[in-house]
């Protein structure tokens, strides 16, 4: 049986891991490569790197990071953050990344998902969708949560599936950093509507939150600060999930 996945997320700026609350207030949490290696040995199933470096050196530093990470870990990893060119996707995949997540660039140019999936296979293209409730509707936000779009969350998730994305990384901005649990309402609904894997993100605060997400359709659960500051060990979490009858790779 296919196991449910636990995915630590590393927000990276110039090779350092940073983590904020509700997409702001960034704190340094260590070297990205070292943290990646630690998670690999602790039993992470996969890693996600979201690069928030905004400089002309970005491409170079990101490729360098991917190469270094690929040298030390033997599990798959996704890279995202400001990637909009087919050439960059190719460069990052050839450097050792397994998947590329597209967010703002996919909203601005939905065709990019289709073209990239055709080139590299759907399994390599993750649609990252950031949603936030605005007057009781889920709205899609871009640019690291800074800009509201006219897109509705459920519609956009269905759309990226049709366009050829192989997976959705679904982040609830309302929940992100709050440690009050994943957005179960959205998760439960959307996973009934689409047939590609969904990674739940935003809000993990304790072991029970993971159980709740997996029991409501999540294929994988992502968390950052909970793991970075060792509030919860991946091995301990997986053991707990297994006891709760959830299939995990121990």
């Amino acid at each position: 049986m296919l196991a449910k996945r636990i995915i630590p997320c590393l927000d990276v700026m110039n090779g350092r891991v940073v983590k904020g609350t509700n997409f702001i207030n960034l704190n340094d949490a260590g070297s990205a490569v070292e943290l990646a290696e630690r998670y690999y040995y602790e039993g992470a199933d996969e890693l996600v790197f979201l690069d928030i470096t905004a400089s002309i050196e970005k491409r170079k530093t990101l490729v360098q990071l991917v190469k270094e990470v690929a040298r030390v870990i033997r599990i798959p990893f996704t890279v995202g953050g400001g990637i909009s060119e087919l050439e960059d996707i190719s460069l990052l995949l050839n450097s050792g990344a397994d998947k590329i997540s597209l967010n703002t660039s996919a909203v601005k140019n939905p065709e990019l998902i289709t073209v990239a999936a055709k080139h590299f296979g759907s399994q390599a293209i993750v649609a990252a969708v950031d949603v936030k409730k605005v007057e009781n509707n889920y709205k899609v936000f871009i640019k690291g949560g800074k800009e509201e779009t006219s897109l509705e969350g459920f519609n956009w998730c269905r759309k990226v599936t049709e366009l050829g994305a192989g997976e959705i990384l679904l982040t609830s901005m309302d929940k992100d950093g709050t440690k009050s649990g994943y957005d179960i309402e959205f998760l439960s609904d959307i996973t009934k509507q689409i047939n590609i894997p969904v990674i739940a993100s935003g809000g993990a605060g304790n072991k029970e939150h993971f159980v709740e997400a997996f029991n409501n359709g999540a294929d994988a659960c992502l968390a950052a600060s909970l793991f970075h500051y060792q509030e919860l060990k991946i091995s301990e979490l997986k053991k707990y999930l297994s006891q709760k009858g959830i299939q995990v790779r121990l």
């Binding site: 049986m1 199933d45 040298r71 033997r74 050792g96 399994q123 390599a124 590609i196 894997p197 294929d219």
Partner: protein, 194 residues
């Protein structure tokens, strides 16, 4: 020396990293002469089947691979290409092993099949030496090889499909050993020690 076939089919960096870690002698190449001088072949593969076959045809490597007597390891798409044909792009494949590669198309089954799944061993093939039954490996694919006479292990996802195969000197794994932690490295070690 191991020749990793360079035909533009995705992520060779990861398999190269593992071979470097294991201090194996290898070359990434699509030059027929170099491939002929190698004593083992790895056919990696991430990508689309019909364009992969087109590329192998353009490189004039189809017969070289099909008729090789060297230990051969096909990974993911590289394993699927060993079969007669595939539903992906309706491509004719290398036809080393009889059979057709099919698309996952079942109710309540998400596609791609992505993540860690366990394999059930069907025999003690050399490639699975040191691997316990029900070990998890990392998969990422939308097409599958049905279980057949040449399957050495299977996994379940909507049905039982081949997670590894063997026919003479040809070995194939549907999962990514280079992305499957220590158990995956064991598979590569097994291939190196053939």
């Amino acid at each position: 020396m191991i020749a990793i076939i360079d035909y533009g089919a995705g992520n060779t960096a990861s398999i190269i990293n593992v071979l470097e870690e294991l201090k194996a002698d290898f070359v990434l190449s699509n030059d027929k002469k170099i491939i002929q001088s190698a004593d083992k072949i790895i056919l990696p593969g991430v990508g689309e089947a019909s364009s992969a076959m087109k590329k192998l045809n353009e490189l004039n490597l189809v017969d070289e691979l099909r008729y090789t007597t060297k230990p051969f390891l096909g990974i993911c798409l590289g394993m699927q290409l060993l079969f007669t044909k595939t539903e992906e792009g309706n491509a004719e494949c290398l036809n080393v092993i009889p059979g057709e590669v099919k698309k996952f198309n079942f109710a309540n089954i998400k596609v791609p099949h992505m993540g860690w799944n366990e394999i059930i061993k069907l025999n003690n093939d050399e490639m699975l030496r040191g691997i316990d039954n029900k070990t998890f490996f990392y998969f990422a694919h939308s097409y599958y090889v049905p279980q057949n006479d040449f399957s050495t292990s299977f996994s379940n996802y909507g049905l039982n499909f081949s997670s590894s195969v063997r026919y003479k000197n040809f070995f194939g794994v549907q999962f990514h050993p280079e992305k499957s932690a220590v158990q995956g490295i064991q598979i590569i070690k097994n291939f190196l020690s053939l």
